[in-house]
């Protein structure tokens, strides 16, 4: 019976996702049975779930290698597991794992340690994975909703904290609004092509006359929705508030996992269905990218809160990543992939240090709270410096590599002016990142003790720092991986 509708490949492709869902439900159930002090077991369960999903994906990959297939299509073309999707899968897995590691002690201090946190992260991960491998408008839309709704709840997870509530509400309202616009754009795409399959839509659009107003309208609405999700200017207003208000571990998560997922979605949309209309969206994209870099970088300069500063810097990074799409060649797409990969490590690392600063009587997210960190915890200070250097794009850290490919792609596609603007903002970025460094290294410490780092935070810091340096110093294997992650 079932086999009429489903094939073995369908199950194979979905196995990691099914596992994650089961573990998510499992965490919610077992959490009821756990005492307060055993709550960390929920985190462990969630990590085990991620581990299983990872092993499963590893097995799928090796099967694909043996069979020498580059992609698996499932559910009659609604889902396509290719190198692009697999690459993003690993970014999601890493960011979810680190978000869980960071949360254990943090949520205890916030007195909001509930298993739902871990379950929601797993659900969000499911949404992200499907978003990266989906090739059908309905699949994509549903996975997008699964992801963002989980993140809305996580943003407001500190239910007694006003900032967190406000952030969640703002994020929810603006997010719903943007989803509406996106849905409208998708309906136009459907109307143009009579199909929800991305490739069929692409074909239908390529048949339309150049400068067709309906195509233009579809491009604008879909792009608006997508720009909202990645936080590009002028659709970025939700981002700083959401980042500042959310629990720091979730800020770290949001800035990496869901953002990478939104980018995977955006790339698929722009390369496949909207690909034939490239000439129509290119000027729009250039404008958005430049505005995003400009606003992100200039607004970050005057922030006094580390989370807010990193939020604005996150906006500026979106601008850089969009530049890769502007050039649209192989190097550019490679650059986007590398950028998202290194961004996952360096940004989560920076947030991990902010999480480590949290104590019962100190929120620790003001720049001034970091004064004299070098005296108290040289390790934390030096690691933070490495993350910030990497975010600014100074070699030999990983961040330089991402920027390197983006700049090179701009040169290759003859966008010299854009390249000059992009490199000059590196100096602006360095200025605000080094405000934090200056406070950490050159100010006298205020009299508080840094709590000993929790094991979860230690692991997270160790992994992110190691990867930031390894990718920076020996990037060859990572470039190889990314080179295989060809076009979506």
């Amino acid at each position: 019976m079932l086999s009429e509708y489903f094939s073995a490949v369908d199950f194979l492709v979905l196995k990691p996702v099914i596992l994650l869902t089961l573990f998510g439900v499992g965490v919610m159930l077992t959490d009821l049975l756990l005492e307060e002090r055993h709550r960390y077991l929920s985190a462990v369960t969630a990590l085990v779930g991620l581990g299983f999903a990872g092993v499963q994906m590893w097995m799928i990959q090796s099967q694909m290698r043996q069979a020498e297939v580059n992609e698996l299509e499932a559910f009659r073309g609604a889902v396509r597991l290719d190198h692009f999707g697999i690459f993003f899968f690993w970014i999601f897995l890493i960011s979810s794992a680190i978000a869980i590691l960071l949360a254990i002690r943090y949520l205890e201090i916030e007195q909001e340690h509930h298993g739902e946190y871990y379950a929601l992260i797993l659900f969000a991960t499911v949404g992200m994975i499907l978003l990266a491998i989906g090739t059908d408008l309905i699949t994509l839309f549903v996975s997008l909703e699964l992801m963002v709704i989980s993140v809305y709840i996580l943003t407001g997870f500190l239910r007694r904290d006003r900032r967190s509530n406000e952030a969640a509400l703002k994020y929810l309202l603006l997010g719903a609004f943007s989803t509406g616009i996106l849905a409208y754009g998708m309906s136009l795409l459907y109307g143009l092509s009579n199909s929800t399959n991305l490739e069929e839509i692409a074909f239908a659009i390529s048949q339309r006359p150049a400068g067709d107003p309906v195509v233009l309208l579809a491009v604008i609405t879909v792009a608006t929705g997508l720009f909202f999700k990645v936080g590009a200017v002028p659709f970025h207003q939700w981002l700083p508030d959401a980042y500042e208000g959310a629990p720091t571990s979730i800020t770290a998560f949001m800035s990496v996992g869901p953002k990478a997922a939104a980018f995977a979605f955006l790339l698929r949309m722009f390369m496949l269905p909207l690909g034939p209309a490239r000439e129509q969206w290119l000027p729009l994209l250039i404008g958005v990218a430049v505005a995003t870099m400009t606003l992100g970088n200039l607004a970050a300069v005057s922030q006094s809160n580390v989370k807010r500063l990193l939020a604005y810097s996150a906006i500026s990074h979106v601008g850089y990543i969009l530049l890769g799409l502007v050039s649209g060649n192989d190097t550019g797409l490679k650059g986007i992939a590398i950028y998202l990969l290194v961004y996952a490590f360096m940004n989560m690392g920076a947030f991990a240090v902010v999480v480590a600063m949290r104590r019962r009587d100190l929120i620790g997210d003001e720049i001034d709270d970091m004064a004299g960190l070098m005296y108290k915890s040289p390790t934390a200070a030096v690691l933070m410096m490495i993350f910030l250097l990497s975010l600014a794009g100074i070699p030999p850290t990983a961040g330089f590599l991402g920027k390197y490919f983006i700049f090179l792609s701009l040169i290759e596609s003859q966008h010299f002016t854009l390249a000059v603007i992009a490199v000059l903002y590196v100096a602006v970025a360095l200025y605000y990142y080094f405000r934090i460094v200056a406070v950490m290294f050159m100010r006298e410490p205020v009299d508080w003790e840094l709590p000993t780092l929790a094991p979860g935070i230690r692991i997270a810091l160790g992994v992110t720092a190691a990867m930031t340096l390894i990718i920076g110093l020996y990037p060859e294997p990572f470039i190889q991986i990314v080179s295989r992650t060809v076009l979506p």
Binding site: M374, L389, I394, P395, P396, F400, F407, L408, I411, E412, F416, A419, V420, V423, L424, V426, A427, L430, Y431, F434, A438, F441, M442, Y474, P475, E476, I479, Q480, S483
Partner: protein, 527 residues
């Protein structure tokens, strides 16, 4: 032998190894840290000595070459090698690096461990810049070295240290990211021509048929990067701040070595990689004008200073103006004079900063008006100061004279007006240095605080003696230095002005594989 095959790597990584070792020492045992750092610095100098003896100056190619694949997919290699130009700068770095560390013994009391770690990392970064034969690797070192310098100024600097540190960092960074775009454009062009991704400096220096308008744009991108570093006239404003606020050793390194990276960049990259742009009359007159403005302006501003250290800082602008003037005379005399003058500047300005540092450590002020008649209480100090000042102002028998003379010779060959301005700069240089010397050393001691100043200790003398010896060596017997430079300079001149040697009836240097592209008509005439 392993050592002789990897000597450059050893020289490069020894300071880094020292820095890593320091990180594991307890921060309370300051003397242990000082000894370790000094030993590491001295060892760094010792291992670099064989370079001098093993270097074959008859060979114009890069020597001690090491090459290992690093990032094959983008064509970046770990490639090191030196020619005569880099040899001199590497030696300058190892000598000044050690002296800077030695001079910090009593000057640095706070956060000693971090200080020496940053010094040694900085040392490795600078050496890497001069040794790299791969543009990607070069860029990595070029940027890496900003970080320790930022901290050296920012933590151990004077009252406005934070401002000076970030200003230094941002200025240099703006220049270097624009330079990165230039590098990427060259790289991309080379790929389009040969189908191969390569950052190899030798390959890129032999590229032919890069269109002239591309060359000009890339030249300008490089120019911003290097001119800020030198610093050339309108880009010099970071320098006085950085120098005045930096601790003594920081200033020594900054003036002695860091500024040379800019001039080195012009010589190593701008000229051979972009020959048409470099000989473009507009570019040449632009560069020479900025150099001359730098020479005169730097000297005049020095004359006006009331702060001892700021005076020396501005004199750097003037002296580096000579170096760039020499480079853009684009003839063998100008170029080799410029490189000699870069070494000279490292010796004499490095020495002068040490001199200022010694008095600052004693009196905690650098106001020139606070001092007079110091020669009566500190005769040794006064003598050493005299030698360094004379070396800086270009007295014959000392090094400065040789460099400036040869540069002026080169400049005169092209245009006597350039030489005339240069000579005026030398006169002004004599003015501000002699006046400084007169005001501080001669006369009677008016200020009671200066009455009991102690003369130099043995360690302090030893920080200056090597520089004095080197100054006399170049002043009295500069031949070895010019011999070392001869081949690489010929190579550059031949590349930038293929008809230079032919027009003067001088036999051109023997063609080498790769350098002279076959079918270059100017080249054939040259032989």
């Amino acid at each position: 032998m392993w050592f002789s095959n990897h000597i450059l790597s050893v020289v490069l990584f020894l300071p880094l190894a020292g820095a890593i070792l320091l990180m594991f020492l307890p921060k309370e045992s300051k003397d242990l840290i000082r000894w370790t750092a000094n030993v590491a610095g001295f060892a760094g100098f010792l291992v670099s000595l064989p370079l001098v003896f093993w270097f074959d100056s008859a060979n114009g190619e890069f020597q001690f070459v090491e090459k290992a694949s690093w990032i094959p997919s983008i064509g970046a290699n770990y490639a090191l090698g030196i020619d005569g130009i880099s040899l001199l700068l590497v030696m300058l770095t190892t000598v000044l690096g050690f002296l800077a560390i030695l001079s910090s013994w009593t000057a640095i009391e706070e956060r000693v461990k971090e200080y020496y770690v940053f010094m040694l990392v900085l040392q490795a970064g600078m050496l890497g810049v001069f040794m790299s034969l791969d543009f990607f690797l070069f860029y990595v070192f070029w940027e890496v070295m900003l970080v320790p310098m930022y901290f050296l100024i920012g933590i151990w600097g004077g009252p406005r240290k934070l401002y000076a540190a970030i200003k230094f960092f941002l200025y240099t960074l703006v220049g270097s990211v624009l330079m990165l775009l230039g590098i990427l454009t060259l790289y991309f062009w080379n790929h389009g021509q040969t189908g191969q991704y390569s950052f190899d400096i030798v390959t890129l220096s032999n590229m032919t048929n890069l269109p002239a308008n591309y060359q000009i744009w890339i030249f300008l991108a490089f120019f911003v990067g290097f001119a800020i570093k030198v610093p050339m006239f309108p880009f010099h404003t970071w320098l006085p701040d950085a120098h005045v606020e930096a601790p003594t050793a920081g200033s020594v390194i900054l003036a002695g070595v860091l500024l040379k990276m800019g001039t080195y960049g012009f010589v190593r990259f701008s000229l051979p990689m972009l020959p048409e742009a470099a000989r473009d009359p507009r570019i040449v007159s632009f560069m020479v004008t900025l150099s001359i403005i730098g020479i005169i302006y730097g000297a005049l501003v020095s004359l006006m200073q009331t702060d001892w250290k700021k005076l020396v800082a501005y004199s750097s602008v003037s002296h580096l103006g000579f170096c760039t003037l020499g480079i853009f005379a684009l003839n063998p005399n100008g170029l080799s004079g410029s490189i000699i003058q870069q070494i000279n500047h490292g010796i004499s300005t490095g020495g002068l900063f040490l001199i200022v540092g010694l008095i600052y450590e004693r009196r905690h002020t650098r106001e020139i008006a606070q001092f007079s008649g110091l020669s009566t209480v500190m005769p040794v100090y006064a003598t050493l100061f005299m030698i360094m000042a004379m070396s800086s102002l270009g007295l014959p028998t000392l090094n400065g004279f040789i460099g400036e003379f040869v540069i002026l010779q080169g400049a005169y060959e092209e245009n006597w007006v350039w030489a005339a301005f240069g000579a005026a700069g030398i006169v002004l240089g004599a003015c501000y240095l002699l006046w400084l010397y007169q005001r501080t050393m001669f006369g009677t001691i008016d200020n009671p605080k200066n009455k009991d100043l102690k003369d130099l200790s043995f360690r302090e003398v030893m920080t200056l003696v090597p520089l004095v010896i080197w100054a006399f060596w170049i002043g009295l017997y500069p031949k070895p230095f010019f011999t070392v430079l001869e081949k690489p300079v010929q190579k550059i001149v031949q590349r930038v002005r293929p008809d230079y040697y032919a027009a003067r009836g001088v036999p051109a240097p023997a063609p080498r594989a790769g350098l002279n592209a076959p079918g270059n008509p100017a080249q054939t005439r040259g032989q």
